[in-house]
Symmetry: C2
Amino acid sequence: MERLPGFRDFYPEPLPTPDAWSADARTYIFDTWKAVARRYGFREYDGPPLETLELYIAKSGAEIVGQLYNFKDKGNREVALRPEMTPTLARMVAAHDRSYKKPIKWFAIPQLFRYERQQKGRLREHFQLNCDIFGETDPAADAELIALLIDSLRALKLTAEDFVIRLSSRDAWQQFFARRCSDEARAYEFYQIIDKLEREDQRESETRLAALGFSLAEVKEFIAAGVPTADLQRVLDNLAARGLGGFVKIDYNVIRGLAYYTGTVFEAFDKKGEFRAIAGGGRYNNLIKVISGGKVDLPALGFGMGDVVLLELLKSRGLLPKFRATVEAYVLIEDEALRGPSLQLVQRLREAGRTVEYSFTAMKPDKQFKRALELDAQWTARLEASGGGADLQVRLRNLRTREERLTTPGEAAGQLSGGTVEK
Amino acid sequence: MERLPGFRDFYPEPLPTPDAWSADARTYIFDTWKAVARRYGFREYDGPPLETLELYIAKSGAEIVGQLYNFKDKGNREVALRPEMTPTLARMVAAHDRSYKKPIKWFAIPQLFRYERQQKGRLREHFQLNCDIFGETDPAADAELIALLIDSLRALKLTAEDFVIRLSSRDAWQQFFARRCSDEARAYEFYQIIDKLEREDQRESETRLAALGFSLAEVKEFIAAGVPTADLQRVLDNLAARGLGGFVKIDYNVIRGLAYYTGTVFEAFDKKGEFRAIAGGGRYNNLIKVISGGKVDLPALGFGMGDVVLLELLKSRGLLPKFRATVEAYVLIEDEALRGPSLQLVQRLREAGRTVEYSFTAMKPDKQFKRALELDAQWTARLEASGGGADLQVRLRNLRTREERLTTPGEAAGQLSGGTVEK
């Protein structure tokens, strides 16, 4: 039996094959994301992996359906596995916006899905950190969000040498568009051309721009000048005050493909330009209104950062820690007559919060010791009869420093510390 | 826009409505599950939420399809949202069993799905802790797994007053079955009758048992006697040695509905009998062979514990902690001229790992203070000009003890400790 194409299994380390996906690396990234988001005062939420197809069409138009993992359920409902979190979040916030003080700062790590027929070997799911702020129009909120993005990457040991945030503005592009074209309905078409400018054939872009009244030269000049809007300048100043100015630059090549962005937009890229965007986001001040059918109107902004490009980047820079089970004690049972009290010792150590392993069945002492080494246990613990009496003592041995300690079963847990050698 | 029936949104606390699902409670349960599983040396894995329909039919027969959230994908594949984790796990282990030392001890917390047309208001998804052991036939492994189940519940502050593990054995029932009926092919039919015994009309059970050559009276006598098999006795002794004997009892009413169990089976119940089973599991020594098409043969056992019944139980016993954002410092910006250095202070505190909040925009001092109280911040931090110079100092105020400290921006993070009053 095979898994479906485009889906991943996550295995514990050490990995069975070099190309297997690591559950430990995933946990490391998720835990880091969560810790930084919480430091910024963001609260966790989650929604269903399956939503009505209507929710995505309302937000992105019917053309989105071609990329969705959508189907008809047994109750004849048109549904889709979520391709992004923002519509779910907008739905959730619109349903209960009055229950939460503004600004609302929330995060989630959803698994997202897409189904494109043609692209062989491409993943059909990934995980994404989503951080969003609701109820604040001031660019101070944009700066907070971008600072969080920067610190999420820094917490994974990436530096200003590794990545940069390219800042842009839909407002700036909207004003540029209005210079030549008064038909607002065509603005999105224009944004799409800008979005593809770096990837598409120059003559193709030239032709498509000309149809809207623009020359490629003036577009390029506008990008090259990169004059920040007043809002962008405030974002830059705010980040500079935090000491994060070195992580951002104005870059009007960025415009973000999605229709619903309204103000500041941004993308994080590796500086060597080897990978696709690490993260992207921006303001979407009108979306809540659309999703709520006009009932709720809240300014909003957010970003998403996927796990796949990030993991590639961390691997290529050698920034992933070496993952292993952290076994604090391996209890050696060399005398089967002592299995009962040894199990009691295992239980006591675990109740004190220690990670403990032992052999389920009788095994030669040297094999048990070998297993303790394989598991990279910090200590072995062995029960032994003391002096002449019936009392049992615990012999602890630190496998890194070779230090030995003799203690009682009741005090053993407290003794499993110190003497750890950094490896 | 509404969410799909049977799916849940998870909101941060305080909850918008009393019946909303809490993201914080979910995180509390998941984090506790993970911590205990790791203490037992279990390693995390995960697989796709979507698998081929074939995987589930191979395991459970075609009758399972009626309960599945299955559909045809855009590539015309018959697929299903996973109704349980065991087939995925068996597939993963069978694919790479040689890469891992035995016994393999793994856990996951998948979201699982089902689609039953008739049951209105019933959830179509839930989360489940799955813990499994591969490669060990000895009942010591069964005891280890049951000890982990017990300690997972104890870590959530449930006691022997709250729950009990009912232990049973497919072997015992198989031997009982063989007394009267030599047609092994009908054994599963017999197990199904036993499984429904506590819920179904007595005469109905009587009739169905008679068709297989049994009287209800002899079945009831067998259950009442509850004589442990040799394996079950070893499980009981092992758990008693750990001091966990008070959490288990033999109860042959338990047999587990699924076809693939082979030896020891068990279920956890609340002692008052108010809820459905909290958890259930057992041995499934033949499943890997089935899933791998005969290629891999590994003894296996595992349990699953869902989040829904558990949460109901914790709520009813008043065992859920009070959840709140833990804001360690609220930075007061009373003078807008100090916003820049205040942002720098926010950044410094967060870089030191502190959770920090502040107002994005100018706000009256009393409103900022009120917000700090609402957020239940432990400290406020305010920059102020020192003596006569340009240097800025930080005034820290502990909102619980009212203690004040004057320090430098560089040392403020280290000062945010002590004096915390337990609430």
